[in-house]
Assembly symmetry: C4
């Protein structure tokens, strides 16, 4: 392990976060949502730092040593490892919501296909599904859940700006898709983030099925 | 375990029921039918009580301590835990059929999509499938199996009343769907309830496939 | 074990067959091809007897004690257990082809749906697929493989007569479907029967996919 | 083990390759991409030899003894075992690209169906997918990835000539499909070959989904 921690972060804390990320990654990889070393996962460590997956690792075999520390600008701290190209999207979430402690980005076939299908509308509207109640703050299937689909770009600041623009317009945001890519979602703890991800994967799959059935 | 049992219920009996529920829950979770902590499962303990899953637990990791006791009005007995919001639908089944000892509610993608597709008809008619014989009392594929689809509501007494109305009209009932939600089915023992659930999941999937094929 | 063997059948021989059947059953159940205790499997024991699954058992948990002996008329030998309702379809295969030593009947969603879709044609024609070479005697994708679809009936002699009629017309037969039900296939040993089953499940799935794609 | 190695190839080297191939084969079989003993896998051993799967083995149960040595003409070396019928397609890749050390051929349902659907165009064009970046040399979703679909034939030299013609026309090649059959792809090491395969399986599945959705 070439990770050197700042004196303010106990090793036990970083290891707990790294182990939680690695466990979740292996579970999500088993679902087939992290093909070809795609996807990235993080947890907040303190107000100024997050633990995040090192770029390019096989998520099905992830361990503690595949996790590194970054600051809230998405820059590596105490290591020569390279964090995921999309690290800035994770740290943006931590900066925006102090109560969020886990961010998940996966790349399932359902997510990729749904993003392409709805890209022209810029949003997928979910309504009438009981499982919307799995999203924090939703207590009935009669609520409406809008998941934006942002255009893809290899230039991260553009993506960050798109997310900022949505939020600055005062619209609620629990997750977003990037066109031809995957989903980002988060939670106050890892269990909530994972529940959000499972629910959204399920609901996107249902919406695609209804369209396959011309319903 | 904060569950205190009435003196009329031996601990061994409750534990047997709790373990059976937890085992079934883990098996159904492996099929992907319990996304995002959805679904609930119960077994009758005696004429006046049932064991049921505590609300909000991950069904893939369920153990004995995730099961609690309720009375036949669906109220918690001997515990501060909160039973599933849909507990009244379980106890309705136990009150209606003294021979029923297990009730299963899952939330698979096939179930959710089928419920949306057939909601406008209020029923899914299954006929011509050999697997209808897996349903208690059906001995040939030439029988007809009607699965009602009730409108969803967060107000349980409305759902209970819909089920009562169907039964009071003298129609046979082996299972029902709730729109945008999942399925309820039951059996004289856990094995029969699980066989009913597997058969119905399979048959709903077949019906969706036939429609995808415009057949 | 209530199975009493004829003096001409060594226990070790019967156990070897029973274990091979149980192992295959558990593997096929893992694929999801044996829902709700459906499906049945057998192996020839000698010229006059076969080992076959006892009716109604969960194929995912099959063991040696779930297998029983029948004669070539499909009648139980040395046991009070009840063989599968479709036992006569197995023994018909053993009577027709002395070189066949294993018969598999599964009930996958693909098989059930394909049978319904092609029932009106009475046959599914497979051509142009490399995997046709997995079927004994086929050495090129340019061959043609016809899989008949027979109408379903709960009266076994009718099904036996349909199979006989096909064979007596001199047509090749490697497998057949029953409408709304599943597939029967066989092989000189269990490995060949299983290879045939895997190939046919795959090819039926491909044919359904092409139709879903309007190709 | 009947494999006799040339004096220039240390046993440890051959065993390392054989073990790596067998491990990958078992992983790919678990995905269901190697039905009915189909598919074949190889690794370069030195400039003149490759280790490749013996014909007809169950890829889900592959071990070191299911791997044999061939020369770069695809002929068996030091063994009476028969290599896969398609061995010449593997050795062609090693001859063409000295930097390639692993070749994978699988036979998934998605691959077979996609090959049939796109055969008339002779090519599948992938664009706009983030996962194109998993292919060596691709750094943006804005690139274009053309996967040719060659007609199937049981005569290997014809297939070899089709691949040569594509390459001699100066077109980039990372993988190809054979109609009604499966995919070939490769990499500088086994991890890269496997990443290419996972990405292409995913992207072909996405393209089929978009067509099912008429998108």
């Amino acid at each position: 392990m070439s990770q050197v921690l700042p004196s303010t972060i106990p090793a036990a804390l970083f290891h707990e976060r790294a182990d939680a990320i690695a466990l979740t990654a292996r579970e999500l990889a088993q679902h087939g949502w992290t093909p070809a070393t795609s996807s990235n996962f993080s947890m907040r460590v303190d107000a100024d730092h997050a633990a995040i997956t090192i770029s390019g690792r096989d998520k099905g075999k992830l361990g503690r040593n595949d996790i590194m520390l970054v600051n809230m600008d998405g820059k590596a701290v105490g290591t020569d490892s390279r964090p995921s190209a999309e690290t800035e999207l994770h740290t943006q979430v931590y900066r925006r919501w102090p109560e969020v402690n886990a961010v998940l980005h996966t790349h399932s076939r359902t997510q990729s296909v749904a993003s392409r299908l709805f890209a022209k509308h810029g949003v997928i509207r979910l309504e009438g599904w009981e499982l919307q109640k799995a999203i924090h703050g939703h207590t009935t299937h009669e609520s409406v859940l809008d998941i934006p689909v942002f255009p893809n770009t290899q230039h991260m600041p553009e993506l960050v700006a798109q997310v900022d623009a949505w939020l600055d317009a005062g619209k609620p945001l629990h997750a977003y898709l990037i066109n031809g890519h995957g989903i980002y979602t988060w939670g106050r703890d890892m269990a909530e983030a994972q529940r959000h991800l499972e629910a959204l994967e399920f609901l996107l799959g249902c919406e695609l099925d209804l369209r396959r059935l011309n319903a």
